[in-house]
Amino acid sequence: MEITTITELYVFVLAGFVGYQVITRVPPLLHTPLMSATNAISAISVVGAMVIAGAHYNRVSTILGFIAVASATVNVVGGFLITDRMLRMFRPAGRGGSEAPAEITAAPGTPVAASAGTAASAAPAAGSASPTAR
């Protein structure tokens, strides 16, 4: 066993601890974004794939490297985009998400205003077709 391996084990164990501390604090609300985010991050194997695809070791490894770069990139691009798309949707009461049609303000003449003090959700009774949030 070489000394670099030991150093790498250090890194692994410490990163594991940090990860555990950080991830236990993520609320269940965000568990799906957490999963897609960590998945996108772990596609960092793209850097290993890039070296293999570009190093010209031999034909086989170049082809394998190319496929690996492509699939890791799918993971990076798709993973970060979808995480962002999900996170954009999470919004607290009283604030319109960027993806949400501005239905809260557009409620003049809505019958029965929110009497329970839940003003945020007093959306227009009529014509609020479900938002076509893709």
Binding site: F12, A40, I41, Y57, T73, V74, I82, P92
Partner: protein, 459 residues
């Protein structure tokens, strides 16, 4: 030298940004900015790698990135939120594929001339990577319903699986001592692919939250092993974060089902419990019309909505929100009760309701909402079954006995939206449906909700 220092610096920056990005996920309002930081970290690492002195030809790299981006963009932008579990599974597949191919290419290039340390890393990489590839494909197939969602089992299956696993591990150990045996390396690769198939097929669709998180963990571990194999710290760090979060989530999911890991993986709900039939015998469920249900909802002061996988299948989250708004407009309060394993992946219901613009502070975890059911006038159960089955509390013979559930039965009245009286996934009869105070509104959830919305409006 200066070049190496630059590359390593970008990796360091990337690692820090990844950890900060994940930390931001503890607060919904900060999460988006944090993930943008993590994405920036990824870009740093990629730019750093581009100047690696080993790279002599950029054609394949650029082409690979272009192809990957072309496939990844639609996958990220256009997949509907209801298909999120499949999307996540497919993502794991791509990540694992990349790690595995890197491992195979490394082994091939070295033509077996690797030390035992490196061989261990390469072995773990191909083992975890390959079983994640096929496992994720199977999981995605089940979630997309290309494959049957029920557990596919045969007699002696566990024996076969364990034998397969033991053989693979045996070959792995042999290879560490004799890394030059290329044939065995590829045999191990093939066996690992087979393990992925055999591992996921016998697991039912309702247990997918555990499986998807576990595959998440394996994909991360494959990245860790890649990091060890090519001596790259950022891979080890990012992989450890992924592996850790996947593992933690699968533990949480198993706990939420009161089942051990082993039980989820090997104890497929094959045969329905013997006690199941007798619960339903002689009992009749009371069905209710949309008008009557709407009347109850309209005059309720607290309604707790319990969404389940049925809501996802019917894609009715928007109707749920609309109904909730109608109730709130009449002065009622609406809260959502989210069971950790409702749906097909961790946090599935939260994402769907967020998509429908339900504010996240109306979504309550099981522990927060359970005491509130007693005050609730109506518990509205939409396509959920096992997570509200009181048998989990009272019937030791039930397969789900001991699983923490949402106490919907404690509400003054319960309205269940359900397609038919067919028992839920686990094949377990649900006594909640036969309780006095429970009424069933049969039909497709979307259609029923639309009716309810119209009726509540006209009350």
């Amino acid at each position: 030298m200066a070049r190496t220092i630059f590359i390593e610096t970008t990796y360091l920056v990337a690692s820090v940004l990844f950890i900060l990005g994940l930390r931001s996920l503890t607060r919904p309002e900060k999460a988006r900015r944090g993930m943008q930081m993590a994405a920036a970290g990824m870009v740093f690492a990629i730019i750093g790698t581009l100047i690696n002195h080993e790279i002599v030809d950029y054609h394949w790299i650029v082409l690979g990135i272009a192809v990957g981006a072309l496939i990844g963009y639609p996958l990220g932008m256009w997949v509907p939120m209801t298909a999120m579990p499949q999307q996540v599974a497919i993502s794991h597949m791509f990540g694992a594929l990349a790690a595995t191919l890197v491992g195979v290419a490394e082994y091939y290039t070295a033509s077996g001339m690797v030390g035992p340390g490196r061989m261990t890393a390469l072995g773990f990489e191909t083992l975890f990577g390959a079983l994640t590839i096929t496992g994720s494909l199977m999981a995605a197939g089940k979630l997309q319903e290309v494959l049957p969602g029920r557990p596919l089992t045969f007699r002696g299956q566990n024996v076969v699986n364990i034998a397969l696993f033991a053989l693979t591990v045996g070959i792995f150990f042999y290879l560490i001592g004799h890394p030059g045996n290329a044939t065995l390396f590829y045999v191990m690769l093939a066996l690992s692919l087979a393990i992925g198939v055999c591992m996921v097929l016998p697991i039912g669709a309702a247990d997918m939250p555990v499986v998807v998180s576990l595959l998440n963990s394996y994909a991360g571990l494959a990245s860790v092993a890649t990091g060890f194999a090519i001596g790259n710290n950022v891979l080890i760090i990012a992989g450890a974060l992924d592996g850790g979060s996947g593992f933690l989530l699968s533990v949480l999911m198993s706990k939420a089902m009161n089942r051990s890991f082993g039980n989820v993986l090997f104890g497929a709900f094959g045969t329905p419990a013997a006690g199941a039939a007798k619960t339903s015998a002689g009992l009749t469920a009371r069905s209710i019309s949309a008008e009557d249900a709407a009347l109850q909802l309209a005059y309720a002061s607290l309604v707790v909505i319990v969404p389940g996988y049925g809501m996802a299948v019917a894609q009715s989250q928007h109707q749920v929100r609309e109904l909730a708004e109608q109730i709130e407009a009449r002065g009622g309060t609406v809260k959502y009760a989210i069971h950790p394993v409702a749906g097909r992946m961790p946090g599935h219901m939260n994402v769907l309701l967020a998509e429908a613009n339900v504010p996240y502070d109306r979504l309550y975890d099981m522990d927060e909402i359970n005491p509130e059911f007693e005050r609730a006038d109506v518990a509205l159960v939409i396509g959920a079954n096992d997570v509200v089955n009181p048998a989990a509390r009272s019937d030791p013979s039930s397969p789900i006995y001991g699983m923490p559930i949402l106490n919907a039965d404690k509400a003054r009245s319960v309205i269940v939206l359900k397609r038919s009286m067919n028992p839920g996934f686990a094949g377990i009869e649900n006594e909640l449906f036969f309780k006095t105070g429970t009424s069933m509104l049969f039909g497709d959830a979307k259609a029923s909700l639309t009716k309810l919305i119209t009726e509540v409006k006209s009350v």
